[in-house]
């Protein structure tokens, strides 16, 4: 039983880490602000969320740790999505347009300076 | 002597120096405060590192553990963090007032305006012939 829990937990943890990593890569490599913020919010939601779920399996039973982790998960989901929303809205308001057309060559220098 | 046993302190020293350099070399008053907080934070690291024992756990007593890290540096640093935020808050309030009074938060602009004030006082006191003295004084300060 313990082994099964351990395996499940590690699967979650590893996938969580993977998403964190992809988020980080995306943050560096994506062309403009809005796609970057998409990458960043993946780290927050999927990455952190999966890691937290993985940790729940590690916490060993229904002690005090489990509900705390659930609460953290809930709050981080609430807070990080709202934060991403606020950042994106602020960017849009201050006049940053998403680069949608594929015809335009995304200029690396410009977008990195906006960050 | 195993030099590597000190690596943690050296990292702390490097951080400290970065903060210290920002404080004394940069001219923007806000940046100086940021530097100051980096400087202080690295001092906190220094204290906390000395309280750490390898393999120990946080000093919250529990039957499960035997070895705890030293709680005293933690207490000291709690106090120091508070002092740090107090200083930062007061510093920021001063920066805001300086901006209102001088219209700038660059040290150089402020010094120029102050030197100008000083010069006016001198002109009032001695007349225009005192220009040379004022130059010397600016260098003194």
């Amino acid at each position: 039983m313990e082994l099964v829990l351990d395996i499940i937990s590690w699967i979650f943890l590893v996938t969580g880490c993977f998403f964190c990593l992809t988020g980080a890569v995306g943050l560096l490599r994506f062309p403009d602000f809005f796609s970057r913020i998409h990458a960043a919010s993946i780290t927050d939601t999927l990455g952190a969320g999966l890691i937290l779920i993985g940790l729940m399996f590690q916490s060993g039973g229904w002690g005090l740790v489990m509900p705390k982790l659930v609460l953290i998960l809930l709050f981080s989901l609430l807070a990080s999505t709202t934060a991403s929303h606020a950042i994106a809205k602020a960017a849009l308001k201050s006049g940053l347009k998403p680069e949608v057309s594929s015809a335009d060559e995304p200029s690396e220098g410009e977008s990195s300076s906006k960050l | 002597m195993n030099i590597l046993g000190l690596y943690n302190y050296w990292i702390v020293v490097v951080l400290m120096l970065i903060g210290f350099y920002i404080v004394i070399a940069h001219e923007n008053l806000i940046k100086k405060l940021v530097g100051l907080s980096i400087f202080q934070t690295s001092v906190f690291f220094f204290y906390i590192s000395m309280g750490k024992i390898t393999g120990a756990t946080a000093p919250i007593l529990d039957e499960k553990y035997e070895l705890y890290s030293n709680p005293l540096p933690h207490v000291l640093i709690l106090t120091a963090i508070v002092v740090g935020i107090a200083t930062t808050a007061l510093g920021l309030a001063l920066v805001v007032r300086i901006q209102e009074a001088y219209g700038s938060i660059e040290e150089r602009d402020i010094q120029e305006q102050d030197a100008h004030d000083q010069l006016e006082c001198q002109l009032e006191a001695y007349g225009p012939s005192s220009m040379e003295i004022s130059d010397e004084q600016e260098q003194d300060e």
Binding site: A86 | L6, V13, F44, L78, L92, V96
Partner: protein, 308 residues
Amino acid sequence: MSDLFAVVMLSGIYSLISASLFLDLDAVDVAFTEASVGAGISTLLMLASLKLVSRYQKKTRYKPILAFFVVVTTGAMLIYGTLDMPHFGTADAPVHTHVAPRYLNESMGEIGVPNVVTSVLASYRGYDTLGETLVIFTAGIGVMALLMVSKQTKQESKKLIPADMQQQIILRIVAKMMIPLILMFALYVQFHGDYGPGGGFQAGVIFAAGIILYTMLFGLSTSQEVFKATTIELFTAAGVLLYGGVGVVCMLLGGNFLDYDFLKHDPVHGQHLGILLVELGVGITVASVMMIIFFKFTWRTVKHKYKK
């Protein structure tokens, strides 16, 4: 970097990373405080003041040679100092053998609080903490004196301040859900500080953060209807007085200043009561000072916006 906004955000991130490092070094209380103070309140205050000064730094040429020299000298002195230090993590360093063992071994019997940091903070070295509370109070006085807003400005602008975030529906709704929880969490941290990490200081900061969040979203005048500036001013002082008052009561009951043993017949109970009260004092002062500092900065912004 000439964008100060980025500078401030990065320093906030630096604080957050520091906090995780503190956690790794077993300093849970310190990590908690650094996260709430360094990454939270101090970043917030810096942003609030950036609103009042120019966001971009002027490009200036400066001569860093002297500064470099000073820094290198200091660094050399520090490195020189490290050479004879006990190694990192060793258990037989003087730090671990002289004063600290008593805290770890006796505090359960003498004070009866599992979190040793709390017992050292509030009892063994309680006087330092009184000093620390006073430092915060001093800073509060300083900011109040420096960023005073006349009554006239307040009244003139009272009708003028719109809630800046009127359109931010998502933010407002989420915040409405979160703020009560944040405040409750602050109370939990306040009264659970004996058993886990936390205590008056962290609780005060979190409480203030909740109120500040409310202020940012719903406008200064709305939140000041509940938290009147004059009342908060009184509270900054009340916390210190509560802390000092506990000390004086100990003195009147026959002990030394801050000797909680005398508060009740049983020393351990006395210690418990004393710690609870002084942590409350710290919490009150910290929360109200943080709030008042933020309010003062915001008033300045309002003043600048509507006076011109």
